[in-house]
Amino acid sequence: MKQDLKTRIYGVLEPGDEDSKYFDPFIMGLIVLNVAAVVLETVQSIYSAYAPLFYAFDVFSVAVFTVEYILRVWSCTVNPRFKDPVRGRLQFLVTPLALVDIIAVLPFYLPIFFLDLRFMRAMRLFRLFRVLKLARYSEALQTFVDVLRLKKEEILLMFFAIMILLVVSSSLMYEAENAAQPEAFSSIPVAMWWGIVTLATVGYGDVYPITLWGKLIGSIVVILGIGLFALPTGVLASGFAEVLAKRKEDRKMQKLRCPHCGRYIGDLASSAGPCDERPEEK
């Protein structure tokens, strides 16, 4: 009986099941509202008008998330990966999603032990990690993660190329401009700010070269660099196209029926076992 309850709770907590039909939207809604609350709390006029409401909502959500976390740790042994009551649970605790869950609630409890107010303010930032909890539920975020995983090497390579260009161009720029503008180009790391803002074509206009050499180097760097900065965009775009095309294909496959036994291909692939009415091969 106890085992049944555990299995059932596990089913409700794991997203995408029939059991969690009501639980998933509830938690998702709560996460979105939480993020909205963190954002709106910083608006002075709104916060001062509804401070008790914000606090009550925070207490309520932390309570829900804490209960959810405890139940997850308790029921994770249902999953064969974490079967061992102690070692399995420990393994579960260090999975990325479980870590996000604990980081999302921890800032609420920590001030009870540390009474430093400044520290508390910084910890509020971590409440935003609650949005990462959404990754468990949202297909969109899952797609994003898939794309990043698929294009990991290309993205790393590009990041590397961008970094090299950034360091080289910022060093050159520092040499060219430091004498004329010791404030704006006081060091190479500071010159890198100019590099990023310029190469990404954001162009805030807070720092820019004024010497002839600086302008010359700047022009060459911009012409070369804009193309390089646009590369990750292209890589991500093609990664998205690939992942989405594969997903479309999968969906199409799921609608296909086996011509011999009439069952769905998707079912055959997952649980129902192979088609046993396959005709003799000639």
Binding site: V35, L141, G205, P232, F240
Partner: protein, 238 residues
């Protein structure tokens, strides 16, 4: 004929906001607006009356109701509604002014006639899941980065970064590479801001690339359809 009228109407709405032009030709603008609304009203009534010829809306009452609720019919209604609202509430100037916004919907009437607008709609419809996905990725990234930047910059620039919603404006300006005069000044803010720029510009460009690939796909499909039709008519022969 309606097409020309719609184009002229949109031009009139735009030009009316130029003070000097409006004062000089006030009567002309008013006269033109009245006539076009009259024509649009007749068009709307005729469309509603004749829609039961389409087997989709055959039922004399329910069919007409369903037809009236299609996006195109709703646009037609929204276009003529403001004028009649003004007739019904002649003194309510605030309502009158806000309803003027609806006049720009006249431009949407063009979608009935324009092939290219139809293509855009088709592409958006075909890629709606992907677009929704990329928009949620953008919102996710925007909220995350503006919160981090807010915490890093708020103390140094309380005027510029007073709260997170205001910082979101910074995030949008930055990641669309518009780059207003509005930027982090603390070392840590610049460091994180630089990372956000590198990652964010790529994220914000996702809808563009999805739409691009969608367009290519749609145009290819159309060409294939055309080729198939041409082949078929060739095979049938005279």
């Amino acid at each position: 004929m309606t097409l020309v009228l719609v184009v002229l109407n949109v031009t009139a709405v735009v030009l009316e906001t130029v003070e000097s032009l409006y004062l000089a030709h006030k009567v002309l603008f008013q006269y033109f607006a009245d006539v076009s609304v009259a024509i649009f009203t007749i068009e709307y009534i005729l469309r509603l009356w004749s829609c039961d010829l389409d087997p989709k809306y055959r039922h004399p009452f329910l069919g007409r109701l369903r037809f009236a609720l299609t996006p195109l019919s709703l646009i037609d209604l929204l276009v003529i509604l403001p004028t009649y609202a003004v007739l019904a509430f002649p003194t309510d100037h605030k309502l009158l002014r806000s309803l003027r916004v609806l006049w720009t919907f006249r431009l949407l009437k063009l979608s009935r006639y324009s092939d290219s607008l139809q293509t855009i709609m088709d592409v958006i419809r075909a890629q709606q899941r992907e677009l929704a996905m990329s928009f949620s990725a953008i919102i996710f990234f925007m909220v995350l980065s503006s919160t981090v930047i807010y915490f890093l910059e708020h103390e140094a620039q309380p005027q510029r970064f007073p709260d997170i919603p205001a910082t979101m404006w910074w995030a949008v300006l930055t990641m669309t590479t518009v780059g207003e005069n509005f930027y982090p000044i603390t070392p840590l803010g610049k460091l994180v801001g630089g990372l956000i720029i590198i990652l964010g510009v790529a994220t914000f460009a996702l809808p563009t690339s999805i739409l691009t690939s969608g367009f290519v796909e749609e145009l290819e499909r159309r060409r294939e359809e055309k080729e198939a039709a041409a082949k078929e008519s060739l095979e049938k022969g005279p």
